[in-house]
């Protein structure tokens, strides 16, 4: 009997948490917004989502097997599905298949696998895929179908983003998602539902989303006030619309909080979030793109290692309180 006993160092028990469980909960949290996109954009949204997820999984599997010669597939950790979903969330619902596939290849191939796969990438893969497409296909990536054309795909009628004319956009439409835009970004409400799910399951902490939204609001008010010519009430209303429009909610809740590319400590997360909020408002107000969430997050992804170095957790007994 005795020679059969296993010996290992403590701890001998585990919480039961796993990467797969975390990814599953992210997917579940994405579901409300995904179903809403199917409702608003119809067939096109389904095609874009399926293509994006399937090609992300395919590319990860193929690169693992044929280029990295990894004997084991990494598909089961669920991260490729999340990348595929998030990429689809960032695309218009009338995007041709070959563009989606190129985006997935860039996201998984360059964004993730070239760094060594899960956990090693510096930038958010889905956002890299989106920005690659935005630069390569600027027109197709910035015209969005108007809502409720259920059977349309490539032939859908398009319109501009509400961000182009924010003062005219209705607050309720922005909040509930009755607007044109990329698939997953339109309904602030359902993204907030996803946020609640992630918080309740302790998948993410509140620090990054809250600091992004707070800082974006503050800087928006500040910049509009400096520019002048608007009553303060209108400034606040416009700043609130900034939080609800475009990729702000999607970025703050699901993209910027990506484990791998965001800081490790709460203090670091707050700095990272505040900088993203500042950058996104700068790009939206002063840049040549109407939307700046992807760029803001990617820029701060690049700073994450430095933030990790600068922001250490509060050590035990650093400040002795009596």
């Amino acid at each position: 009997m005795s020679n059969k006993l296993k010996v290992s160092l403590s701890p001998h028990v585990h919480s039961g948490d796993s990467i797969r469980r975390n990814m599953d909960w992210v997917i579940i949290a994405l579901l409300p917004a995904m179903l809403w996109s199917f409702y608003v954009f119809g067939l096109g949204a389904v095609i874009v989502t399926l293509t994006s997820v399937a090609s992300c999984m395919l590319f990860e599997w193929a690169i693992n097997k044929y280029i990295l010669k990894n004997p084991k597939t990494t598909l089961s950790d669920g991260s490729a599905i999340v990348t595929g979903l998030l990429l689809a969330f960032n695309l218009p619902s009338n995007l041709p298949l070959y563009i989606i596939i190129m985006g997935a290849l860039f996201a998984i191939g360059v964004g993730k696998m070239s760094f060594g796969g899960l956990g090693n990438n510096i930038f958010n893969p889905a956002l890299l895929g989106r920005v690659f497409l935005l630069i390569s296909f600027p027109v197709k990536m910035t015209t969005w179908p108007v809502p409720h054309q259920y059977t349309a795909y490539a032939d859908a009628t398009t319109g501009a983003t509400p961000l182009a004319n924010l003062p005219e956009a209705g607050l309720g439409d922005l909040f509930f998602g009755n607007i044109g835009g990329s698939l997953g970004e339109v309904s602030a409400l359902l993204l907030l539902v996803g946020f609640a799910i992630l918080l309740l399951r302790k998948i993410i902490s509140w620090h990054i989303p809250v600091s992004i939204l707070f800082s974006a609001f503050v800087f928006s008010v500040l910049f509009y006030a400096i520019r002048g010519g608007m009553p303060f009430g209108d400034i606040c209303m416009l700043s609130l619309k900034h939080l609800l429009a475009g990729g702000m909610m999607l970025g703050a809740i699901f993209m910027a909080t990506d484990y791998v590319t965001s800081p490790m400590t709460h203090k670091g997360m707050l700095i990272y979030g505040a900088c993203i909020g500042f950058l996104v408002i700068c790009i939206r107000l002063f840049g040549s793109y109407p939307e700046g969430m992807s760029f803001a997050i990617l820029i701060m992804n690049g700073f994450t290692p430095l933030i990790n170095n600068a922001c250490k957790p509060k050590r035990f007994a650093k400040e002795v309180k009596k």
Binding site: L5, S8, V13, H14, S205, Y259, T265, E319, K322
Partner: protein, 443 residues
């Protein structure tokens, strides 16, 4: 409700033996006493082969100030002094005694009567504790008399009855059955170090113990029960002091006494009562035998030196599918090489895990989820320390305070990627500790 401020996790409690009365374990045929059952210098044998001993006879002297003597828990004849494999898995010198009858030293007061008052001076109390071979019974086994001789004045005694390790119930059952003795023990500790205030810290998953101790503590001046919110590793000395009185002990060489506190385990308080009031040296303790596959989880009052296999038999035997046997709790206990190792002063429990439970999940890449950082009760970055150890960057590991890790295992427990964080950090601590000692020796 109070708890410590930084980090912490919530393992499943699994206190299977919580409702079980303490049962007296039968005597072994042979008792084995390792000479190193405590932190500090090993004890030195003071009996020779063939010597006849009684229950309570001293068989080894303390090897220095930070050391403790060892007493026989059985009567019989010293068979040999030899090396045995102890709970650490290494061969260590030990005294082996063949048991004959059960004859106690006549000086030991075996009556059940509670003795409350003593005229002993603080120094005499400490001397009796030292002579009785009492060590910290929570598992660290630090000689108790050293803690009772603080180098700076202290103003509070904290009794560790947290028992934050899952499964273990030895302290809990002791509180339920010996509350008065424990309280007298606490007042002896207070007298020995000259403080007026003592807290008995109990986690709120033991409401019966909290209620009982609160009721009984009314009869003792200055002793207060401090219920704590359940969180692991609350029984860690530093975490406990933070939780109860909100003081954080700085890094070594600082000791709890430097923030005015001393901590003793509740089992130690009971042993101190028996040593001082009943003249009974430390030779038996409560051991929890437990596990999901164990037929009858039990709390057993066991003589030191009893092989653990006997306790497992008493609890219904070793199940077929046992994969791992752990001395102590599942978070910090040691996996045993075999079950012949003897019960020692620090043996709080024996935990049997099934084949399935004893397998670790396959390690995956770190996804930098920061759960280990949030869990670390010392405010460290386990993911980083693990990487630094893996890449042998000892200088940076030292700068990132690897040596302050208390090895509680919260990081590895919580890691969704099942990474062996603490394995690497332990290795890093070993190497960095060696570098620090070498540097100190040079200067």
């Amino acid at each position: 409700m109070k708890t410590f401020r930084i980090g912490g996790v919530h393992p499943q409690e699994n206190k299977l033996s919580a409702e079980k009365k303490i049962e007296v374990m039968e005597l072994p045929k042979q008792a084995v006493f390792p000479l190193s059952q405590h932190i500090g210098a090993p004890a030195v044998p003071c009996v020779a082969r063939g010597a006849v001993v009684k229950v309570g006879t001293k068989i080894a002297d303390a090897g220095g100030f930070v050391s403790a003597p060892i007493h026989s828990s059985v009567s019989g004849k010293v068979a040999k002094i030899d090396t045995i494999v102890d709970a650490s898995g290494y061969r260590k010198p030990a005294i082996i005694i063949d048991v004959e009858g059960d004859e106690w030293e006549p000086t030991i007061d075996r009556s059940e009567a509670l003795v409350r008052d003593t005229t002993l001076e603080p120094k005499e109390i400490v001397a009796r504790v030292q002579e009785a071979g009492i060590v910290g019974m929570g598992g660290a086994c630090f000689p108790a008399h050293v803690k009772l001789s603080p180098r700076t004045p202290v103003d509070v005694v904290i009794i560790n009855a947290v028992e934050c390790e899952p499964y273990l119930t030895a302290d809990h059952s002791l509180m339920m059955e010996k509350p008065d003795e424990i309280l007298v023990g606490v007042s002896l500790i207070m007298k020995a170090v000259g403080v007026k205030k003592a807290y008995i810290a109990i986690e709120n998953n033991k409401p019966d113990a909290i209620a009982l101790m609160q009721e009984k503590a009314k009869g003792f001046a200055g002793i207060e029960v401090c219920p704590l919110r359940v969180k692991y590793p609350q029984g860690g000395e530093k975490q406990l002091i933070d939780a109860v009185v909100g003081r954080q002990v700085p890094n070594p060489p600082a000791l709890p006494a430097d923030v005015g506190a001393i901590v003793q385990n509740v089992g130690t308080a009971f042993a101190i009562y028996e040593a001082v009031m009943k003249n009974k040296p430390l030779f038996e303790r409560v051991v929890t035998v437990t596990g999901k596959s164990v037929a009858e989880p039990k709390n057993l009052l066991t003589r030191m030196g009893t092989p653990m296999s006997l306790l497992i038999e008493r609890a219904g035997g070793m199940p077929e599918d046992t994969g791992k046997v752990i001395g102590g709790g599942p978070m910090m206990g040691k996996a045993l090489l075999n079950t012949d190792v003897p019960v020692c002063k620090g043996s709080s429990g024996i935990l049997l895990m099934t084949e399935k439970e004893s397998l670790r999940g396959e390690a995956q890449p770190c996804i930098r989820c920061s759960k280990c950082v949030t869990a670390c009760p010392m405010g460290l970055e386990p993911y980083l320390l693990q990487k630094l150890a893996e890449h042998t960057d000892w200088e940076r590991a030292e700068a990132e305070q690897i040596m302050t890790c208390i090895e509680c295992g919260s990081c590895q427990f919580t890691c969704p990627a099942h990474r062996p964080l603490l394995d690497w950090i332990r290795m890093g601590k070993g190497t960095v500790g060696g570098i620090i000692r070498a540097r100190a020796a040079k200067s």
